[in-house]
């Protein structure tokens, strides 16, 4: 290092301390690698260990990794495995109950999390109809992954697809009726 820079850094101990702290953090942060196994149970064990050793911030990526691994061996049993993993995550304080529900239902339930709300449809859903439908469309592709590709539940996925179409039709009619001033 340039001796001049070192001298000036020594003049400002605060800056030096900050740099040293950052360097320390960088050296202790785990790599948080993705699971390399193709076996879902082993992958879940690996992910649980990683999440428990400082990789909590990578939860989304790990969840995605697990889904990808499960796609390689689709079976109805996978629903339970993911549910238990999410319950464990909640128990460990990695996720709140709401978050765990969101993660599960978005992928493995026929009903759409995008259609949640505490107010009536005329005042809440209709003014945001396009956004709600767009969110539902995105969620449908997650359901395709969770229900069809991971859990081998085509019936569930087709029901979700039909539900999306029915919601589209019913919302179109209901929102037209809500705005009609007759």
């Amino acid at each position: 290092m340039n001796p001049q820079i070192l001298t000036s850094l020594l003049k400002f101990p605060g800056i030096l301390a900050g740099i040293l702290m950052l360097a320390a953090c960088a050296s202790t942060e785990p790599g948080c690698p993705s699971p390399q196994t193709r076996n879902l149970d082993s992958a879940i064990s690996f992910v649980k260990t990683s999440l428990g050793t400082g990789c909590e911030a990578h939860f989304d990526r790990y969840y995605d990794d697990l889904l990808t691994i499960a796609e390689g061996d689709p079976k109805p049993e996978n629903k339970r495995i993911f549910s238990e993993f999410l319950v464990w995550s909640g128990d460990q304080g990695l996720l709140s109950t709401r978050q765990a529900q969101e993660y599960y239902n978005r992928f493995f339930n026929v009903k759409f999390m995008a259609m949640k709300g505490d107010y009536n449809n005329c005042s809440h859903t209709c003014p945001n109809k396009q956004r709600v439908l767009l969110d539902m469309e995105r969620e449908l592709s997650d359901k395709e992954r969770g229900l069809l590709k991971v859990s081998q539940d085509p019936e569930g996925y087709y029901r979700a697809d039909r539900l999306y179409q029915e919601v589209e039709l019913v919302l179109e009619a209901t929102c037209t009726a809500c705005t009609a001033s007759r």
Partner: protein, 282 residues
């Protein structure tokens, strides 16, 4: 000798199980009925809507009957016009006579429509307004999006309900009166359906009524203009392309498309395994 008779018949375990089973089944039935009775039912089809649908079907049938003969005659005259190679021979006296005949029949069609459309408009509007009120109150104001979704999904494992879902959007390729007759039948037998079917059915009929209502309004406006134009054309014996277009349009609306789209088969149903229910599921 012991003549003592047993005070009670010794309990036979098999019989006891059967009795217990029957009792349980009876209790379950009562509980199920109570639950069903307590389930809030959405009121989307009051009696007035059912009657309005029936009335609209009748008016549409009357209009079709009146127009069928005229449109048939118009088709024959057009065919004769084409076969006589009148296209591009507008100055030929015979062709001019034919064109005037076609124009007169066209005027007749417009007159019949003008007479019948107000009735049609009235009944369609009544149905639309009733459904509009029901949809706004029952689905729009009384329900949150999640409740609406739950209504549409229905209760789990109600395969009978999903099988009885109405076929939607079967508008083209169907006579107008048949369409209303189908709607009427669907609504009249709606007691056996779940709320999920009713919400979809009401939405479908309402949107159709909206469309029909706008179409009738526009047609009525056009009839006045077309009548005037044709009265002028009568003096020259001209067949305008617009005339043919209008006749084609009326035929499509009243009698359905000639070449309806083939239905595409759905994906195969999935394996009916016992579904897993997560404690996280909502």
């Amino acid at each position: 000798m012991n003549n003592k008779r047993p005070l009670a018949i010794a309990p036979d375990p098999a019989r006891r199980k059967a009795t217990l089973g029957l009792l349980l089944a009876g209790m379950l039935l009562i509980v199920a009925q109570t639950v069903l009775a307590n389930t809030p039912t959405i009121r989307l089809f009051p009696t007035t809507v059912v009657e309005d649908l029936k009335q609209t079907g009748n008016v549409a049938r009357d209009m079709e009957t009146g127009l069928q003969e005229v449109i048939g005659r118009l088709d024959q005259q057009q065919q004769l016009y084409v076969e006589s190679k009148c296209d591009g021979a507008a100055n030929d006296p015979g062709c001019q006579r034919l064109a005037r005949q076609i124009g007169a029949t066209y005027l007749e069609m417009l007159t019949i429509m003008e007479e019948r459309l107000p009735d049609m408009e009235h009944t369609v509007n009544n149905t639309r307004i009733s459904l509009e009120r029901g949809l706004r109150n029952e689905l729009g104001k009384k329900m949150t999006p999640w409740q609406l979704q739950e209504t549409l999904v229905g209760k789990p494992n109600t395969s009978a309900a999903s099988q009885s879902s109405p076929t939607l959007r079967g508008r083209s390729g169907m006579r107008l009166s048949e369409r209303f007759k189908t709607y009427y039948q669907l609504v009249a037998t709606s007691g056996s359906r779940g709320d999920q079917s009713l919400a979809v059915l009401a939405s479908d009929i309402y949107l159709d009524m909206e469309e029909t209502s706008v179409l009738i309004e526009r047609t009525r406006q056009e009839i006045a203009r077309a009548t005037l134009m044709e009265q002028l054309n009568q003096s020259f014996g001209i067949i305008t392309p617009e005339m043919m277009e209008v006749v084609g349009g009326v035929k499509t609306i009243l009698f359905g498309d000639e070449d309806p789209h083939a239905l595409v088969a759905g994906p195969p149903p999935g394996s009916v395994e016992q579904a897993y229910r997560s404690p996280l599921e909502q």
